[in-house]
Amino acid sequence: MLKLQGIAVSPGVTIGEALVLDAEGFRIPRRFVERSAVDTELARLAHAIAETSREMEQNRDRVRAELGEQYAAIFDAHLAMLHDPRLQQELTAAVRDRNWWPEYAVSRTLRRYAKVFQSLDNHIAQRAHDIYDIEKSLLRNLLGQRRETLAAISQPVIVLAHNLTPSETANLDRRFVKGFATELGGPGSHTAIVAEGLEIPAVVGVGPFLADVSGGEPVILDGNEGLVILQPDEETIARYRLEEEAARTVAARLGRLRDLPAETGDGVRVQIMGNIEFPSEVEQCIDRGCDGIGLYRTEFLYLTSKREPTEEDHFAAYSFVIQAMQGKPVVIRTLDLGADKMLTETMPEEERNPCLGLRSIRLSLRQLPMFRTQLRAILRASGLGDVRVMFPLISTIVELRQAKMVLADVMEDLAEHGIAFNRKMPVGMMVETPAAALMLDAFIKEVDFVSIGTNDLIQYTLAVDRGNKEVADLYNACDPAVLRLLRRSLDVAAEAGVPANVCGQMSGSVMFTQLLLGLGLRQLSVPASAIPEVKQACRSVSVADCRLIAEKALAMDGAREVKAYLRDQLRRLLAETVA
């Protein structure tokens, strides 16, 4: 058994067969050949080896001509390894005696060598890359046109990969993919957000581990603790089966909350909205009885396609969500990406500090044609339901006014062309910089609603990049500085009579529900998976108690103290609920 620690990015536990994808997305299942087919399969293996050898010779000759003998030598080494008699014997024996599928034999055998090399404390360790290269070439020749990809999965698996792009993650078939783990990646990465949206357990940043596992082997994925367990023993499997079962029971219990309102013990109605990224997630929010979509992130439109999305791409996605919500509010946030992730040709030079650079509304205001395209689509969709638009990362009043001006301009344009839209579409802003929180009394006069994005607010208030391991422990939602900015923002909004919402991970964690209600919040926007739990928490508290809790927490000096206190209060609440 091998336990690997990664970063938990999407909760849940699952047990299943591994599907291993290498950097090129090959999928190597553990498969066996019929005894009668052994000779055919051996011939196929021999053919693949011959083809691979021919390719290597061609590469060697080309490189020799272009770069010289010294560089060509690397291919000589590859060829020598490929034709290693011991390797050939092992491959043949694996197919003939153990009846392994040639693909599986190649993958298993070469990975074993790669692993030995990797373990050497010597420059030979780099030879592991050569072994992977040889594996890849052999597999390409073996699989040929029959190459299986992620899109063609037809049975339940746990995907193990070097890395998954957001679009690969988004295209995972939820019917079959029970979870995934990757060698690369960090928290807050787009892949992580997508995984949470798909509601499958996910662990990223595990480090190199693909050499230790082959397709078809049993794997346990623990998205709560960030663990990947290879070759689990019986006892561990049994323990996780119990955990899987318990989670199903809890889910069933919370499922009964669907049609009940989020109303506190003393009769205060709280709105619980869903955060979505992909249009399809709207179904999960509806299934759990949400009161609307509080945060519709639109980045996926830009990330899952190779070209910039057209107005029709935007419109199709928005109308799908709006129609599914049947008159309930849908808050669409305009593009919130950094320049580094964009496809535009006018890429600025590499930024030294992208979080403080050209991103989000700043980028939109710089790329006006792109911004106008998105606003046109939002406006056209505004007639289909209760649509609201929200600008991210506002830090000065000038930005807010500029964004509103572009919106007004696009409205004029649509009106001129006789295209229908809702002229009274509510316009809001996100509060996610200390500047916005401190100046909210000025901003609030010019918006119809605000939404507090706690992830960025914490990062900018505490000057901490939570993706940076060295300082991630300083990133803490319980920090009194964050709580004070939250209180100020909610107070200003309440005084002005402007609806306020909190999105971001803080609102999805029940540890903060009492605090947030106590600070006066009446609308929370959370991931679909968190809706039942947060609703349950709202139904188990009274606003009067919450106010006392908030008052006490706000009087504390340190994050640790606040965290301990909120944990205690949550424990007390859970104990009461169970009793």
Binding site: Q70, A77, M81, D84, P85, R86, H123
Partner: protein, 87 residues
């Protein structure tokens, strides 16, 4: 192992090629590790650095000739100059 870069890919390849010319079984021993001298992959797993003491063993009808041939590879330092590049 006199070669400055140790028994890296190129000398390992030369050694395995030479070993395969003979009928005898040829094995390399370093510390407690014993590998097949005819397999470059196996030889590489020795990760023999410069200065490592290697024992070459041959068993079979042409063992003596094989040992002489392989020994001369070591004597010639695998045809590498002291400052040559690692491959």
């Amino acid at each position: 192992m006199a070669n400055r870069q140790g028994l890296h890919a190129r000398p390992a390849d030369l050694l395995a090629r030479e070993a395969r010319r003979w009928q005898s079984r040829i094995e390399l021993v370093a510390d407690s590790q014993r590998v097949d001298g005819k397999s470059i992959l196996d030889v590489l797993t020795l990760a023999a650095e410069a200065g490592t003491r290697l024992v070459v063993e041959a068993t079979g009808p042409d063992a003596r000739e094989a040992l002489e041939a392989i020994g001369s590879l070591f004597d010639r330092n695998f045809n590498e100059h002291a400052g040559s590049q690692q491959t």
